[in-house]
Symmetry: C2
Subunit: 382 residues, 2 copies
Amino acid sequence: MKIKKDYLLAPGPTPVPPQVASAGAWPLIHHRTPQFRAIIKEVADGLKYLFQTKEPVYFMSASGTGMMEAAVANLMSPGETMIVAEGGKFGERWSEIGKAFGCNVVITKVEYGKAITPKQIEETLQKNPKARAVFTQLSETSTGCVYDVEAIGKVVSKTDALFVVDGISGLGAEPCYPDKWNIDCLLTGSQKGVMLPPGLGFITVSTKGWKKVEEAKCPRFYFDLRAYKKSLEQDDAPWTPAISLLFQLHEALKLIKSETMEGMWSRHAWLAEATRAGMKGLNLELFAERPGNILTSVKTPSGLDGEKIVQIMRDDLGVSIAGGQGSMKGNVLRIAHLGYMDRFDITTALSALEFALKRQGHAVKLGSSVAAAEEILWKDPK
Amino acid sequence: MKIKKDYLLAPGPTPVPPQVASAGAWPLIHHRTPQFRAIIKEVADGLKYLFQTKEPVYFMSASGTGMMEAAVANLMSPGETMIVAEGGKFGERWSEIGKAFGCNVVITKVEYGKAITPKQIEETLQKNPKARAVFTQLSETSTGCVYDVEAIGKVVSKTDALFVVDGISGLGAEPCYPDKWNIDCLLTGSQKGVMLPPGLGFITVSTKGWKKVEEAKCPRFYFDLRAYKKSLEQDDAPWTPAISLLFQLHEALKLIKSETMEGMWSRHAWLAEATRAGMKGLNLELFAERPGNILTSVKTPSGLDGEKIVQIMRDDLGVSIAGGQGSMKGNVLRIAHLGYMDRFDITTALSALEFALKRQGHAVKLGSSVAAAEEILWKDPK
């Protein structure tokens, strides 16, 4: 049988750079040692740079959903009102967590693919003056829509409410300045822009947020930020940390520092622009109202099944992209350009998409999307 | 500077076999694919074998403490009574988690190093007839004491209470039969007998336990066993799983199956017997009343600082063992023989201990502990 090479272009997990991957196989060292504390110290510095914040950033052994629970459990008390911006599956997850913890969840909704507006948040805050926090995404991974978090932050900062942003798919690809943008809690996972395998989560809280952490009444232990704070002050972790993933994080943060955050953002913007150009070359319609640097979502051409396209690309051509989730299933294709990605990942993804569409009988002019993308990719990012 | 080889003989993290380590560097594949579901299916079978249970075993991205929280949050409601057997730091952790979740924690205590008796549990259950569950350890890692979980299970099974066992350091090294021994919830972490890096936890619940999971009122989302059950029935995980650690688990379970559980237990018993013989050869006094197959704890010889011994062994000789935790700090030395360990790991640890004691001015006859251990180790395990 013919050798098949595999390419990962889904919005998480994303490809891991070889020097980061190999650190996952390093011999373990014990975590309660000066040797490991030196690594934690450097990782903590690197995470502050990644998050562009002066506040400490905590790492936990958990997926991104664990970080979302950490945000709710540490910032809310049962019965308190939380406003959730729901524009996709991950907005909905905020609501589910809030309900599980007995919060009064007020949902402000937009259609899948559309962006939550600052105006919408402002009106919801006015109707719910006792709301303790507003929960949103930087990028709603399920639709590919990026929210104007800076503008929403301005609106929230005029109230007593806290502003909580799930940056799980966005951080590293989209500019985000929590300290300047009035974000009180920002979190992400490891398997997206940070270029690691899944299994680690990261979270930071503003001074305003910390006051609430001390008072919040939701029960919590594993995700209790107070335990992480006390430990990190001694370059330590409260529970046995995921040592091999931390070795990998240590390596990934070196790469991030060397490219710089500005460099990462402009590389992602360039890859996104090329992908959108490629989609235009194929006459595919963008799905997201505010498409971002993370992934490009398009509507499946009518008469075709998006799930089948994803399957052909993955099983026959070796290129993993994502389809739609929930009610978007079959109707949306999502190609990520997130993390350890360069120009030929985009041409590969677009070629594979052309092939899958053609194999399904769709009228495709071979090379049309690649040629359109190449108009962007032959030069370096700005 | 002289090359220094490092040896990990602490009770977690434990050494990772090379074929398991290298799987930590494998290219990631997407988790929502038939390819990854095939791995989950095999891992789920392997975990049932590891746990010696017919019930499904769930894997989560978290440390062992996360699994302890999962047990409390899924099996208790706020205000309900839980009995905790406290014989060390990890017994105390059960109490802390119970308190964080608003349970009425009834503590039955024994001195550090002693074993909780079935009689003690029986009396505490009689005094607290409304107790919903009894929480204990299979092995209290902080003291090296193994509890008679089979006998305790018999006592608990005469009541309506559930029996919850933290097998974090014990599973794989000590025989444990949850189905036969009336254990309603058994859990462990990845970095002990399972021979993986830390970052994964495993948990199983009996039919009796599941009735309580459905009714329990503690808030939970990330650790909600109902979500894991629903997913695992489709060879899936509810949140993005720690893919690289699951690749490693897949490899480790192959090794475990090949050695068999009976083989693992007898190897650990053999290594433990040799280590105890070595300690006797050095005239060191065992600390634990019921020393197990996991680790051997001894009292630091009078006049010496245990922390200093640990430091010399680690920093000067390259051999990581553990000292005492909390009030045991400085007074206890703990050498683990857990996970990926063979005879020469024991002779190495004992040599290093001889050297560190001698370097601290203790009267040591060089070779005395190694010779004593060799009397056990020259033959194969029974």
